[in-house]
């Protein structure tokens, strides 16, 4: 007979008969597998920690979002937001599903080209586009979303030399009734900057106004804000049409749809508060359809959703390194996943689960990462079961931003594994080694 696992004693305040508003939390949720593959098998094969992505979830979520919009609006186009996750394998799945690419730097632009995206299917956003980047984008017929007047002037200068028309849109920021108002990107709607720049574009010889773009913020929980934004953009489109008899081909509503993760300080869990794709779609499409734009001139609706599409598909699997008791008598658990890998733990209360049922009991625990830095806290307070050294843990919903914003700090970055739709695992990014770093470093002669 196998030896029973040791379970440490705990003291919990008994709260029987007094369930809180969520009812009685019975048992501890366990995630033992991803798409049917046991977590332990993943860790055995690829080490701990490891990022895991589910192709099935990526495709399912994309199709759900696509369906929400296409059954409400005649012309819809998604553009994969590269900065959310620009692993080539991930990008290729989205392109395969019909997404274009939305990039915000020369690096991302080249990555998109490298992934086989046609130049004319790339949307070039962001405040940082060098003259070289712009030239390339013009040459490739990409859509350039102008962020500031200086970029407009550069474009006018470049195009007057090359004589090739640039396809441009402007990014518009506006008051949609939410806080904070992102006014650092693009041109303001209310103060007239947006209208001013549209006039300049329409009068420029080599600029072709093709679209209007906004990105009202991130993790927006009120779909209505999108409706307000879409109405304001349609109004601009109508004004352009009235003054210049020019039809704007698309309206790009950017991204910012929330995922089911819970924001720090939120009263209710994200799953309960986060709007569905249908909610966003209804708000946006109704605003466009009810605008003054006649049905035959309705622009293509472009969406740059990133987080909401990929977050659910990503998992981090790791291992408990140690348990300790803090001076405050609070229990602390140290795991091998830190903020170096889980950048989003700065703003989310990430859920964290055991992969095996260990005990019915939970204890208020602080979960620390492995870094020798005070700030490396994954969860400051969580009801957590009594795991021991060597037990595995899993953090779901980490697909967005973590694989682009992670840091090489103190430890090396781990493998990223993709489980394909046939449930086969593939490494899509090799873990780093010391060699990886040494190749980048140069020793001055006097030190070698």
């Amino acid at each position: 007979m196998e030896k029973l696992k040791y379970e440490r004693p705990i003291i919990n305040k008994l709260q029987a008969g007094m369930p809180d508003k969520f009812g009685m939390n019975i048992g501890v949720k366990v995630i033992s597998n991803i798409d049917g593959i046991p977590v332990s098998e993943i860790i055995d094969t690829y080490g701990s920690p490891t990022f895991v992505l589910s192709e099935q979830t990526i495709r399912d979520t994309f199709q759900e979002a696509n369906e929400a919009f296409t059954t409400r609006y005649p012309k819809v186009q998604f553009a994969w937001s590269y900065k959310t996750n620009y692993l080539n394998a991930v990008c290729k799945i989205y392109h395969d599903e019909g997404s274009w690419a939305e990039v915000v730097s020369g690096f991302e632009y080249d990555k998109a080209i490298g992934n086989g995206v046609k130049g004319s299917n790339i949307i070039f956003n962001g405040p940082d586009k060098s003259d070289k980047d712009l030239e390339k984008a013009i040459e490739n017929d990409s859509f350039i979303h102008i962020d500031h007047f200086d970029e407009l002037y550069s474009l006018i200068k470049i195009t007057s030399k090359s004589n090739k028309k640039a396809k441009v849109a402007i990014r518009v920021n506006m008051d949609t009734g939410i806080y904070p108002q992102w006014d650092r990107f693009g041109f303001n709607y209310e103060n007239g900057d947006a209208w001013k720049v549209l006039n300049k574009i329409m009068l420029a010889d080599h600029l072709e106004l093709v679209g209007l773009h906004t990105h009202i913020g991130t993790y927006i929980l009120t779909p209505n804000a999108y409706g307000v934004a879409a109405s304001k953009l349609s109004e601009l489109a109508v004004r352009v049409y009235r003054k210049f008899n020019h039809i704007v081909s698309y309206i790009d509503m950017g991204g910012g749809f929330a995922s089911d993760n819970t924001l720090k300080g939120a009263y209710l869990p994200g799953k309960d508060t986060c709007p569905s794709f249908d909610d966003y779609a209804e708000s946006i499409t109704n605003a466009l359809i009810n605008s003054e734009i006649p049905p035959e001139n309705l622009p293509t609706l472009i969406l740059e959703t990133g987080r909401a599409l990929i977050d659910d598909a990503g998992y981090l699997v790791g291992t408990v390194l140690a348990n300790k008791r803090l001076v405050s008598s609070r229990r602390a658990t140290i795991i091998d996943i830190g903020i170096n890998l889980l950048f989003t733990s700065f703003w989310y209360e990430h859920e964290i689960y055991p992969v095996k049922q260990v005990s019915e009991q939970t204890e208020d625990t602080t979960i620390y990462g492995p870094l020798c830095m005070n700030i490396d806290v994954v969860r400051s307070a969580v009801k957590f079961p009594l795991l021991q050294k060597g037990d595995h843990v899993i953090i779901p919903r980490v697909g967005a931003y973590n694989m682009t914003q992670w840091m090489q700090f103190i430890t090396l970055r781990p493998n990223i594994v993709l489980i394909d739709t046939d449930k086969k695992m593939h490494i899509i990014r090799e873990k780093e080694t010391n060699e990886t770093f040494n190749t980048q470093e140069r020793l001055p002669k006097h030190l070698s």
Binding site: D60, T71, P74, K118, S120, D141, S249, N290
Partner: protein
């Protein structure tokens, strides 16, 4: 410039010549001319006939009758027959011509009176005016002392010598001396008798004429005649003894009328010819007895009775999808009628109808189609239910216990076509899942009037979601309301039907959807979505729409390059008074008729030489849906006479009632688009395949490149055609 109302010399000539060919239901000029010549085999009969025709045309013009009908010869062919009959029966002289004049006048008046009478039943007046006119003349003539009965027709050789000299006489004697089987001579005599010519030569020339004008008519004339001939011998009667009384043609004309002219030639029409000819024989035998006391010939009476009766009963049919089809647009040629029907059935059946699209955005699944198993039955069988499913074919998220779980719930319903909202029912709550409100069967409903007797009804709408009001004029594609679960709806869906009346729950109309795409790769026009199909409206691409939009008055410049030379053509875009749009190349007199409804470009017809760029344009862009669908293949069939040579078509013409020997298939593929949203260049490939019986042979492949500024380029291996609009 001629006055708008004037009748030109050319029209006059056509009216005259058509009067001759009309006797055989044709408007073929060559055939008409042959018949004119044949009528002059008896010079006085010929002159009388022509006089009757001219008299009738003159009177019709003077009284201000329809130029169109006059030009078609519809008013004058009966007079012609009376003229011929009169001319042959009486001795020539001024009295004869006066008689012919008045006989023509009588016939013309009867023609118009009968036209008015029969038009109410949508029936032709055939040669009844001739019958009445001829009987009037014959009966009256018995008291007319100054007009003697003619002895002509007895000394035929003398008469022929007078027209054609010794050559014609020799031909005549040679023909008469040939050992021709009895059945053939009787056939030829009968043919000649239609024009009151009792000679083999006349019959022979008319037979050749029929063959030239229509192979089907020729075949029918043989089938009809032989059926009657053998029916006679089967019953023990001798057809030849009636030869002199000019009745054999009844069988020939009945066969042509039923077999191919008023009914589209098919196996079924031939079968009916076989069934009806004995009836004609019985009528012939019996009616002769009735008219005997008056010493009147029955002429074409049996033909008129049987054809009119049969055409009349065909119109009383309830099921219109029978294989025996009446000709709806008369092209005066059985072959053309068959080929036109083929095109009309497959391509343009609904062209003149008001177009109705799907009432939703994006891809929806048909959960109940026409004649569905649940509620689409009886009076409500022409309806569709729409839902949305995910890729696993599931229509809900979670457990599907709440209406909000359903993918289609609260999605936009859009106007399937422009119109006026005539009824809105609102205020009925959504059912809980699985329940159905059988009291408010239709739930919240909207009814839109699109045209007279054309309404659309959409039901099971969400309470309070209406975006339009009763009485509001709406545009196609406008949002109407949201999908709900009210009425007899156990789970969220919408019910869509077309009807002729404005009340909720009216009887449904059998009406198609104009264009839709199944699974993003199968294109359908004027069809009905079927159960479980995933359908969406066609998404058009501006570049294609603009390039294939032709505005009347436009001039197109065309350059054709091939190995040897570069040639230039000019086309003009015109419309005729039926509002048919066409492209015309004036130099070669080539016409390409097209149809555009904003979503699909069709070529309808082509006439003219096959040597122009216009001809290739017609073939290459035979049918082009104006949206870009990478995986879609569009197929169509081109009328075979526009690809196969005339000589080959003769064989096809003979066989077409029974099976199609030659077919031309058109296949269009979407090859490349440079940008889905703002395309500047789209490449298509059209493949034209000839099918001879069951063997396919590639005929031509066209690469079509449509680029900015309305440029269309059509290339084959050997040439390149460039079309620019200005």
């Amino acid at each position: 410039m001629s006055k708008p109302n004037s009748f030109t010399a050319k029209q006059f000539w056509e009216a005259t010549i058509n009067s001759y060919s009309q006797v055989f239901f044709s408007d073929n000029k060559l055939f008409g001319f042959i018949l004119l010549v044949v009528s002059f085999f008896d010079i006085w009969a010929g002159i009388s006939g022509l006089l009757a025709v001219l008299t009738t045309i003159g009177i019709a013009l003077a009284l201000g009758f329809s130029h169109f009908q006059i030009q078609k010869g519809s008013y004058s062919f009966n007079s012609l027959l009376v003229g011929l009959g009169t001319g042959l029966s009486f001795t020539p002289g001024i009295e004869l011509f006066v008689l012919v004049f008045f006989a023509a006048l009588i016939t013309f008046i009867i023609t118009l009176a009968l036209e008015g009478f029969f038009a109410k039943y949508a029936l032709p007046f055939l040669s009844i005016p001739f019958l009445i006119g001829m009987w009037v003349v014959v009966l009256a003539s018995r008291d007319l002392q100054d007009i003697g009965l003619s002895e002509r027709g007895i000394y035929t050789a003398n008469e022929l010598h007078a027209i054609g000299g010794i050559g014609l006489v020799n031909l005549y004697t040679w023909l008469n001396n040939l050992e021709i089987p009895h059945v053939i001579t009787t056939y030829l005599y009968s043919l000649g008798a239609i024009f009151f010519q009792y000679s083999l030569l006349a019959g022979f020339v008319i037979a050749i004429g029929i063959l030239l004008y229509s192979r089907i008519s020729f075949l029918l004339s043989l089938v009809g005649f032989l059926t009657a001939y053998y029916f006679y011998s089967f019953l023990g009667a001798d057809i030849a003894q009636y030869g002199y009384t000019y009745i054999g043609f009844n069988f020939i004309l009945t066969a042509i009328a039923i077999g191919g002219h008023f009914v589209v030639a098919s196996k079924q029409s031939f079968l009916w010819v076989l069934l009806l000819l004995p009836v004609v024989v019985l009528f012939t035998l019996s009616l002769t007895k009735i008219l005997l006391p008056y010493q009147l010939s029955i002429y074409s009476l049996p033909f008129n009775i049987v054809v009119l009766l049969f055409l009349y009963i065909l119109k009383l049919r309830v099921k219109t999808d029978s294989k025996l089809k009446e000709v709806s647009l008369q092209l005066n040629n059985p072959e053309k009628n068959v080929y036109y029907l083929e095109q009309a059935e497959n391509r343009f059946k609904w062209l003149q109808y008001f177009t109705i699209s799907l009432p939703v955005h994006g891809k929806w699944k048909i959960s109940q189609a026409e004649d569905g198993e649940h509620t689409h039955r009886g009076n409500w069988k022409y309806a569709w239910d729409f839902i949305v499913t995910d890729k696993n074919d599931k229509e809900f998220k979670n457990q599907g216990d709440f209406v909000e779980d359903y993918l289609c719930y609260a999605k936009n319903i859009i106007a399937p076509a422009s119109g006026t909202v005539v009824e809105i029912v609102d205020g009925i709550e959504d059912n809980i899942i699985g329940d159905a409100d059988v009291i408010n069967n239709w739930g919240n409903t909207i009814i839109i009037k699109h045209a007279t007797y054309l309404y659309s009804q959409i039901s099971h709408i969400k309470k309070g979601s209406f975006k339009v009001k009763k009485g509001q004029v709406i545009k196609k594609g406008e949002t109407l309301a949201l999908v709900g679960n009210s009425g007899r709806s156990p789970y969220p869906h919408i019910h869509f039907q077309l009807q002729a009346t404005p009340s909720v729950g009216s009887k449904t109309l059998d009406y198609p959807i104009d264009h839709f795409v199944i699974d993003n790769n199968e294109f359908n026009s004027y069809a009905k979505p079927l159960l479980n199909e995933q359908v969406s409206n066609i998404k058009t691409t501006n570049l294609l729409q603009q390039a294939l939009k032709f505005i009347p008055g436009q001039t197109l410049k065309i350059t054709t390059e091939n190995k040897e030379k570069t040639t230039e053509e000019t086309w003009q875009v015109k419309t005729d008074y039926h509002n048919n749009l066409y492209l015309v190349n004036r130099e070669t007199n080539s016409y390409a008729y097209l149809h555009q409804d904003g979503a699909v470009h069709y070529f309808q017809n082509y006439s003219g030489t096959k040597q122009t760029a216009l001809y290739h344009f017609y073939l290459a862009l035979f049918q082009v849906p104006l949206g870009y669908y990478q995986d879609m293949e569009v197929t169509d069939s081109i009328p075979s006479n526009l690809v196969f040579s005339k000589f080959r078509m003769v064989l096809q013409d003979f066989l077409i009632p029974f099976f199609t020997l030659f077919k031309v298939n058109y296949k269009l593929k979407y090859i490349h688009i440079d940008n889905e949203m703002l395309p500047k260049r789209i490449e298509l490939k059209a493949k034209i395949t000839k099918r001879i019986y069951t063997k396919d042979k590639e005929h031509q492949e066209y690469t079509i490149i449509i680029s900015e500024n309305n440029c269309i380029e059509i290339a084959t291996d050997t040439m390149k055609i460039n079309i620019t609009k200005n």
